[in-house]
C-alpha cells in the first residue's frame, strides 16, 4: 500500500494543512514585504544620494559664486579702479598708499571668508598686491606663465575657473587651490592692466567630498570641462593606471547619469552639471544602496521564523483541541464495541461534536434497549418452541389415544386399531416435518386431519368436522402446528361440554397477500372477558390449552410481525370463531429467494 493511500489521522491532517498554509502565507508575505521594504529603502537611498550630489553641487556653486562676487566687488572698488587707471601717473608714495588700501580691502575679505586662500592682483608692470602685506612672490616661478594667468588674458575680462592645482606663486607656500582669475581692464577695455587672482582653499572642497558617505566603495568625484580631475579620492590610482575612471563617458553624458556593469557589480554614475563647467559625479554601488540589507534580511527572517514557529505550535494545539472530543468519542465507541453499553459521552462545546455525542448516546441507549428486547424475544422463542413441542406431543393426548387403541384392541376392533394407529403415525410424521419451522399448508392440513380423525374416533359421534380449504393454498407455507391447539381448544372448551354432537369447521382462503384460516365451532362459547385473556395469557394458573393458544398467537407475531395473529369472536351458547392471519408465502418463491441468498 502506498503511504499516500494510508489512513491519516484528522489531527495530523489539520496540523499539516495549517503548517503548509502558515508556511506558504508566511513565506509569501515575507517575500513580498521584504521586496517592498527593499525597494522603499532603495528609493530612499537613491533619493538620498541624489540629494547628496545636489547638496555638493549647491555648496561648490556657492563657493564659486562667492569668488565671482568678490571679483566683481574688487573690479568696482574705487581704489582698485584708481590704481589700475592711473598707476603710471601717481607718485610712488601715493601708489604705496593705494596698494596698502587695496591690500587692506583684500585682507578684510579673506578674513571674513574661510574658504578663500588668497586674493592677489598681478599688474602688467610686474606689480603685485596681495591680501597679506608681507607676502612675497616665489622668485623661481614665472607668474605670467601660469595657466590661470594665460587663460585670463585669453578670455579678456571673463572669469576663468581653474581645476584644482598647487599654487606656487607665493614664496614658501604650496597650497592646493581652485583659482578664479580674470583680466582687469582700465578705461579702455581692450587694454589689460593686470590679472585678479582669487584662490579658493581646495581643502574646503576636499574635506566636504571626502567626508561624503556613499557606502563602502561609493565616492564622489569632480572634473572640469576639459575632463581634468578636480577631485577624485583615487586620483593616485588613476595616474598610476591601477584604476580607470570613465571620464570620457561622463564628459559626453547628457542624461544626468549612467550605469556601468563591471566585475559582477553595477555602479551608478549620477552626474550634476555646474554652471561654470564642472561636473560633479556621484558613484555608488548598487549592492551597497541598501546598506543595512543584511540586518533587514535578518529581521525579516527572524520575524518569519517566529511566525512559522507560532503557526506550527498553534496548528498542533488547534488540531489537538479539535480532535480531542473525537478521540474521546472513539475511545467510548471502543468500549461499546467491547460490549459496555452503560456509557454516556459528555456533550462537548462545539455544535458538531455535541450533536455527534448526543446521537451517539441515543444510539447506544437504543442499542441497549434493542439488545434487551432481543434477549427477551429469544428467551420467549425458546419457551414457545418448547411449548410447540409440548403441544405436538401432548402426553395426555398421547396417553388417551393409546388408551383408546388398547381399549379397541381388547375389543378386537382391528380395523379401528389400524386406522387410529396409522392416523397417529401420520400425525407425528406431519408434526416432525424435518425440523423446519415453516411447512407447506398441505402438511399442516394432513396434520390437522389426522388429529381430527383421532379425536373423532375417541369421541365417537360427538365431534363432526368439515375442512373447507382452497387446494391452491396447499403450496403456500405456514408455521407448523398452528391449527391443532385451536382445534384442541374448540374441542375441550367448546364441544366437549356441550350436550349432543358439535361441529368444527376449518376454512382457509387467500385474501390480499394473506392467508386466512378460520376455526369455528358451535360449542358453548365464551364470554368477552374470557376472550380477552385468551391471547395475552402466558402460563400461570391458566389451563395448558389456553397457553397453547397464546403461544400460537405470539409465535405468529414473532415470525411475521404485529399485523398477523389470532382474533377471537365468541358468543356464549352460540360458539366460537377464531381467525388466523398469516402472510401468503409461496413455497416456490421462498425456495427461489433462499436459492438467491445462500
Amino acid at each position: 500500500m502506498k503511504s499516500s493511500q494510508r489512513i491519516k489521522s484528522i489531527q495530523s491532517r489539520i496540523a499539516s494543512s495549517f503548517v503548509m498554509l502558515v508556511l506558504f502565507t508566511a513565506l509569501l508575505l515575507i517575500f513580498i514585504s521584504y521586496r517592498l521594504s527593499e525597494s522603499a529603502v532603495r528609493e530612499t537611498a537613491e533619493s538620498y544620494t541624489s540629494e547628496l550630489i545636489n547638496q555638493v553641487n549647491a555648496n561648490i556653486q556657492t563657493y564659486i559664486t562667492g569668488m565671482k562676487d568678490i571679483s566683481l566687488a574688487t573690479m568696482n572698488n574705487p581704489n582698485v579702479r584708481e590704481y589700475l587707471a592711473s598707476s603710471e601717473e601717481l607718485q610712488p608714495a601715493e601708489l604705496a598708499q593705494l596698494k596698502a588700501k587695496i591690500s587692506e580691502y583684500f585682507h578684510s575679505i579673506r578674513v571674513s571668508r574661510k574658504d578663500i586662500a588668497s586674493i592677489n592682483i598681478f599688474g602688467e608692470g610686474g606689480t603685485f598686491i596681495s591680501d597679506r602685506t608681507n607676502a612675497e612672490l616665489n622668485p623661481y616661478i614665472e607668474v605670467s606663465e601660469q595657466p590661470w594667468y594665460r587663460q585670463a588674458q585669453e578670455n579678456k575680462g571673463q572669469t576663468v575657473i581653474s581645476s584644482s592645482h598647487v599654487q606656487p606663486v607665493i614664496k614658501g607656500e604650496y597650497r592646493w587651490v581652485v583659482s578664479l582669475s580674470r583680466e582687469l581692464s582700465g578705461i579702455t577695455p581692450t587694454q589689460g592692466l593686470g590679472i585678479l587672482l582669487i584662490d579658493l582653499n581646495f581643502k574646503v572642497i576636499n574635506d566636504m567630498l571626502s567626508k561624503l558617505d556613499l557606502g563602502n566603495r561609493g565616492y564622489v568625484f569632480v572634473i572640469d570641462s576639459q575632463g581634468r580631475i578636480v577631485y577624485h579620492p583615487q586620483q593616485q590610482l588613476l595616474y598610476s593606471n591601477l584604476k580607470t575612471e570613465r571620464l570620457e563617458q561622463v564628459l559626453q553624458d547628457k542624461q544626468g547619469g549612467f550605469v556601468v556593469k563591471e566585475d559582477g557589480a553595477s555602479r551608478i554614475y549620477s552626474i550634476k552639471d555646474t554652471d561654470f563647467g564642472w561636473k560633479i559625479v556621484g558613484v555608488f554601488y548598487e549592492n551597497e544602496l541598501v546598506d543595512n540589507k543584511k540586518q533587514m534580511q535578518l529581521s525579516f527572517a527572524v520575524a518569519g521564523l517566529l511566525c512559522l514557529g507560532l503557526g506550527v505550535l498553534f496548528s498542533v494545539v488547534i488540531s489537538r483541541n479539535l480532535t480531542r472530543p473525537i478521540k474521546k468519542l472513539q475511545e467510548k465507541m471502543m468500549e461499546v464495541e467491547k460490549g459496555n453499553f452503560d456509557i454516556r459521552v459528555p456533550v462537548g462545546h462545539s455544535r458538531e461534536i455535541s450533536g455527534l455525542a448526543r446521537s451517539f448516546n441515543v444510539m447506544v441507549s437504543k442499542v441497549k434497549e434493542l439488545m434487551r428486547q432481543i434477549m427477551v424475544e429469544q428467551e420467549f422463542k425458546r419457551k414457545s418452541e418448547l411449548n410447540a413441542l409440548q403441544a405436538q406431543i401432548n402426553p395426555h393426548f398421547l396417553y388417551n389415544t393409546l388408551d383408546s387403541i388398547i381399549w379397541m384392541a381388547e375389543s378386537k376392533k382391528h380395523d379401528e386399531v389400524i386406522l387410529m394407529t396409522s392416523a397417529l403415525a401420520r400425525l407425528f410424521r406431519a408434526s416432525l416435518s424435518k425440523g423446519k419451522e415453516l411447512i407447506p399448508i398441505a402438511t399442516e392440513m394432513e396434520h390437522i386431519t389426522n388429529y381430527l380423525k383421532i379425536q373423532q374416533m375417541r369421541y365417537q359421534d360427538k365431534i363432526r368436522y368439515t375442512l373447507d380449504m382452497d387446494p391452491e393454498l396447499y403450496s403456500y407455507l405456514t408455521l407448523k402446528v398452528l391449527l391443532q391447539p385451536l382445534v384442541e381448544n374448540a374441542i375441550y372448551h367448546g364441544i366437549k361440554n356441550k350436550e349432543g354432537p358439535g361441529t368444527i369447521t376449518i376454512t382457509g382462503a387467500h385474501e390480499d397477500h394473506m392467508i386466512v384460516f378460520q376455526v369455528m365451532d358451535d360449542g358453548i362459547g365464551m364470554d368477552e372477558a374470557k376472550v380477552e385473556t385468551l391471547l395475552t395469557s402466558s402460563g400461570g394458573n391458566q389451563s395448558r390449552n389456553s397457553v397453547g393458544i397464546a403461544n400460537v398467537h405470539q409465535r405468529i407475531q414473532l415470525y411475521f410481525g404485529a399485523n398477523y395473529g389470532l382474533s377471537y369472536t365468541s358468543e356464549p351458547g352460540a360458539g366460537t370463531c377464531v381467525k388466523l392471519l398469516i402472510p401468503a408465502i409461496h413455497a416456490e418463491e421462498r425456495r427461489e429467494k433462499e436459492g438467491d441468498m445462500p
Binding site: S3, R6, I7, S9, S12, A15, S16, V19, L23, L27, N138, Y140, I141, S163, H165, V166, P168, G172, Y174, R175, W176, N201, F202, K203, N206, N216, R217, R228, I229, P233, Q234, Q235, Q236, L237, Y239, S240, L242, K294, Q297, L298, A301, L305, L308, G309, V312
Partner: protein
Amino acid sequence: MKSYLSMRYIVMLLIPALIVGYAILQWSKDEPRPKKIIVGVKAVEEIEFWRVLIEGVNTASREFGVDVSVVGPPREIQVDLQIQMLQEAIKQQPDAIVMAAGDYNRLVPTVESIRKAGIPLIMIDSAVNGDYAQSLIATDNFNAGQKAAVELAERLPVNAKVAIVSFVQGTSTQIEREQGVRSILEQREGTEIVGTYYSEGMEERAYEITMELLRERPDLDGIVGLNEPSTVGAGRAIGEQGLVGKVKLVGFDSSIKEVKLLEEGVLQSTIVQKPFSIGYLGIKTAVSLIEGDKVSPNVYTDSVIINKDNMYTEENQKLLFPFVEE
C-alpha cells in the same frame, strides 16, 4: 501508522530547518567576518613616503572591506622596535601581514616566525634576505637607482667624482638603489664614486655628512641622495656651501623641502616612487591571497623622474604634493 506520523512531523520540522539553514548559509557566504590585515611599516612619523603609503593602504582597506591596522616604529632606524611590534602582531593571528622590512637581514627571524605561524605574508617596499614572502610589492629600486644615475650623469662633466648619501645600511631598498646607481656610474668613463655614506634616514645626519664630505672633497661633482632625508640634508649642505649648480644633486622621493630645492636649482632631479600604489597593491594582493587566488611573486611599481620643468604638471602635482593642507 506511528512511523508515518513521526515522518510527517519530521518533514514539518525539516522545512523550516532547511530554510533557516539556507538563510544562514547565504549570510555566511555574503558577509564573512572582515579579514584582519596588519601592515608593518618602517616608520610612521618621519617620512612623507610612509604617510602616503598608509593612505593607499586605507583606500584599499575601505574598498575591499578589510580590517587593517598599521604598526611601525616612529623612525626608520628603530629596527628592534619594528621587530618587537611585528612579534606582537603575530600573536594577534591576523589573516595576513603586509610589511616592509626595516633591515635586510635582521628581520629574517621575524619573517620566519610569521611563516611558521601560517600567516600569509606580503612584503612591500623593502624585502628581506631570503624567499619568504608570497609576494613582494616595491618600486623597482635597482631601476630607480639607474634612473637617478642617468639623470646625474647627463649633468656631470667628463671626469667626475660622485658620492652616494644613503640611509639605513642593510635595507634592501638602499642596497638595490645603490647597486642601480653604481651599475650606471661605474660604466661611465672617468667617473669615480668616492663612497657611500649613511645618514640613518635622518636629515640632520645627512647634512652633517655632506658638509664634511664637501670640505674633504672640494672636487666633488655630484651627489646621489638615496632617500628623502638624505637628499634634503645633502641639498641643504650644498646650498649653504654656495655650491648650487656646481655640485649636482639627484635625489629620491618628495617633500616640500625637496620641492624648494628643485625650484632653487639645488636639486636637479628626484626619483619619485608611488607609495600610494605600493600601499594599495599591498592590501589588494593580501586580499587576493586570503581569498586563495594566485598572486604574482613580484610586483614592481614604477618611479617617475621629476625635475624643475615637469614638477607642476597635473599628474606630478599629486605625487609631489599628496596632501591637501591648509
